[in-house]
C-alpha cells in the first residue's frame, strides 16, 4: 500500500449561524461539522457514512472549499487549501472533483452532453476546440457511453447514463481526488451495480483516490478501504473495511449494520431498531452526542464526552464503554 498522504484534514469545523428573528436572542449555531480529522492516502478509497443530517455532505463540500470553513486545516498534496486565494484555488480544483447524488440537477439541462464535457477543458485553459471535442468523445467512451451521445441533451438520457456523464466530467482533467457524494443512491438497482463497477474500474485505471459518501453500508463495503462513521458532525468510529464489518464497536455503527435489509433472513432475525432520529435531538453541551438513542448507555456517558481512541491498530472508536 502506498503511504503517500494525499489529503490531510485536521479538526475541520463548519458551523451555520441561523438568522436572528425579531425580538429573539441570537440562536446557537448549527454545528454541522464539528471537528473531524482524517487522512486520505494516495490511491485509497475512504467511506464517509452516516444518516441524513450527520454532516457528511457538508464535510465534503467544506474540504473542497465549496463552503467556507469555520475553522480547521485541510492540506492537499502538501498545500494548505484554506490559505489559498480564490484564483489559486480555482487552478487546484482540476485536481479535486466531485460527483453529486442527483445526476439531473447537476448538469445544465439546456446544454448538449458534448458541451458539458468540453467545459472543464475550456475553463482550465485548453482553447483548442477541435482537440477538446476529441477529448470529450474519448471521455464518453471511457465511461461506457457512445460518441452518439455527444449531441444529446440531458433529458434524452436515463438517470444511469446521466450519472456516467457526471463521472466523465469529474475525471476530465485527470484529478487526483474524487469526492463522490452518494453517487448511486438515486439510481435503479440494476444500474447501481454498473456505476459502482465503473467507478472501481476508473479508480484502477486512472490511479485516483475517492472520498465516498453514502448512507448505504452495503455499497460502502464494496467500495472502500477504510470507513469513517459520522454522527452529528463528528466521526465516532474509524476503521479498516474488515474491522468495521466484522467487529463494529460503536453501538451506532452496530445499529446501522443491523438496519440493512437482509435478503436471506427476512423478518425472523431479532432486530434492534434504534428509536428516534437525528432531528429530534436537542443540542446538548455535555456528555456523549449519541446518548439519547444509545441502547447501552451508562451514567458516566452523561457527564463525559468521548473522544476517538485507538482500540486496535487502525481502529478508532469514540465510546467510553469501548475504550
Amino acid at each position: 500500500m502506498n503511504t503517500e498522504k494525499l489529503l490531510v484534514v485536521q479538526d475541520l469545523k463548519k458551523h451555520f449561524q441561523p438568522s436572528k428573528k425579531f425580538l429573539q436572542t441570537t440562536p446557537a449555531p448549527v454545528r454541522a461539522v464539528d471537528g473531524i480529522s482524517f487522512t486520505l492516502l494516495k490511491g485509497e478509497t475512504l467511506g464517509l457514512v452516516g444518516e441524513s443530517g450527520c454532516g457528511k455532505s457538508t464535510a465534503a463540500r467544506t474540504l473542497l472549499r465549496l463552503l467556507e470553513p469555520t475553522s480547521g486545516q485541510v492540506s492537499f498534496c502538501g498545500t494548505q487549501l484554506f490559505d489559498l486565494k480564490e484564483a489559486e484555488m480555482r487552478t487546484l480544483r482540476s485536481e479535486m472533483q466531485i460527483i453529486f447524488q442527483d445526476p439531473y440537477s447537476s448538469v445544465n439541462p439546456g446544454r448538449r452532453i458534448g458541451k458539458i464535457l468540453q467545459e472543464p477543458f475550456e475553463i482550465h485553459g485548453f482553447k483548442d476546440n477541435k482537440e477538446n471535442t476529441e477529448k470529450a468523445k474519448h471521455l464518453l467512451k471511457q465511461v461506457g457511453l457512445t460518441p452518439g451521445h455527444f449531441n444529446s441533451y440531458p433529458h434524452e438520457l436515463s438517470g444511469g447514463q446521466l450519472q456516467r456523464v457526471g463521472i466523465a466530467r469529474a475525471i476530465a482533467l485527470s484529478p487526483k481526488l474524487i469526492v463522490a457524494d452518494e453517487p448511486v443512491s438515486a439510481l435503479d438497482v440494476s444500474i447501481r451495480a454498473q456505476v459502482i463497477n465503473l467507478l472501481l474500474d476508473l479508480k484502477e485505471r486512472l490511479n485516483m483516490s475517492y472520498l465516498f459518501i453514502s448512507h448505504d453500508l452495503g455499497v460502502v463495503e464494496y467500495f472502500c478501504d477504510r470507513v469513517a462513521v459520522m454522527y452529528l458532525g463528528k466521526i465516532i468510529e474509524f476503521a479498516d473495511n474488515e474491522q468495521i464489518y466484522n467487529s463494529p464497536q460503536h453501538p451506532y455503527t452496530q445499529a446501522l449494520l443491523n438496519a440493512i435489509p437482509n435478503l436471506e433472513s427476512g423478518r425472523d432475525k431479532q432486530k434492534i431498531t434504534l428509536k428516534g432520529d437525528i432531528s429530534m435531538l436537542a443540542p446538548q453541551r455535555k456528555g456523549c452526542a449519541f446518548l439519547n438513542r444509545c441502547p447501552i448507555k451508562e451514567k458516566r456517558c452523561e457527564e463525559q464526552e468521548p473522544v476517538l481512541k485507538e482500540i486496535a491498530p487502525g481502529h478508532q472508536v469514540a465510546c467510553l464503554l469501548k475504550s
Binding site: E51, V189, A193, H215, D225, N258, L263, K275, D277, I278
Partner: protein, 328 residues
Amino acid sequence: MPSPELEIQNLKVSFSTPKGKLTAVNGISFHINSGETLALVGESGCGKTVSALSILRLLPEPPAEIISGKILFAGQDLLSLSSKQFQDLRGNAISMIFQDPMTSLNPVLTVGEQIIETLLRHTNMNRQEARKKSAELLSRVELPAPKEKLTHYPHQLSGGMRQRVMIAMALACKPRVLIADEPTTALDVLIQSQILDLLHSLKKETGMSILFITHDLGVVAEIAQRVIVMYAGEIIESGPAQALLQKPYHPYTKGLIASIPKLGARDQPGSRLEEISGNVPSLDQRPSGCPFHPRCPSVMDQCKSQAPELSQVEPERYTSCHLEPESL
C-alpha cells in the same frame, strides 16, 4: 384458501404523448389476499406506480387512459364507479402512502388539520372527536408528543416523522387495503427499519392487506409474503417471497438479486458486483418479443420475435420466459 381482497384483471394503461400512445401497463393480472403483504417490485418506469395509481383512480385522465381491465374490490368493479362513489372509497376502505411525504402533505395546513379532514369526510365524528382521534392515531404510529405534533406544520418534522404522519392519515378510517408506494425509499436505513417495523405491527393489529411497491429486494424480504416482479409494464415473475428470492427463475430477477451488494459477500478488496448490462427501456422504445431480451444473458432467437407468457413452473410460482423450466 385465503380469499382475495382486491383483484386486478388484465389491466392495461396507456398515456397519450407527443410520441404517440405509449403503453405503461400491458395487461397485468394479480390479486391480494386479505391480511397479506404483496410486494410489487421493479425499476423506474416498469409500471408499478401506474398500476397502483390506477387502482385508486388517481391517474390524470387524459393523458392517462385505462384501456381495459377490471379492478374488483368487495364484489364490485372499481372502474365502473362514478367519481363521486369513488371518493367515498378512497382514503376510507383503500388508502395510500407515497414515497415523498414532503410533497404529499399539504405544506400550509397543520398535521392535525390534515388528519381531521380525512376523518370528517369519511366518518360521522364531530370536530372535537376527530381531534381526539387524530392524537390517538399519531401516538399509534409512535410519534413522540402526539398532541403537540397536531399543531405542527409538515416542514417542522423530519422525513421519518412525516412518513409516520402519512401512515396515521392513511390508517384513520381503518382501510382494508393499504397501498404503500416506495414508502421508505427517501429515508435512510435506520428510519427505513423503523417504518418497516411500524407497518408490520400495524398490519398484525388491523388485519389489513398491504400492496407494497418497492425497487429494493432487501425490503421485500423483510416485509412481504408474496412478490410480483414487473418489467416494462408486464409481470415477469411472481411467487412466495422467500422461495422467489432464494430461487429466482426469470433471468431479470436473477440479475436483480445478484446485483445487490450483500454484506459480507465481498471476496476481496476491489472485487466487482454482478451487473445487468444495458438500460431499462423507455416506453417509446419497447423491444419486440420479450421486453427483456436486449439485456438478457441467455437470449435465444425466439425471444426477439415472440413474447413469452406468464406460466406456472411450480405450485404458486409463475414466470414468463421461453427457456425450459429445467434450465431456468
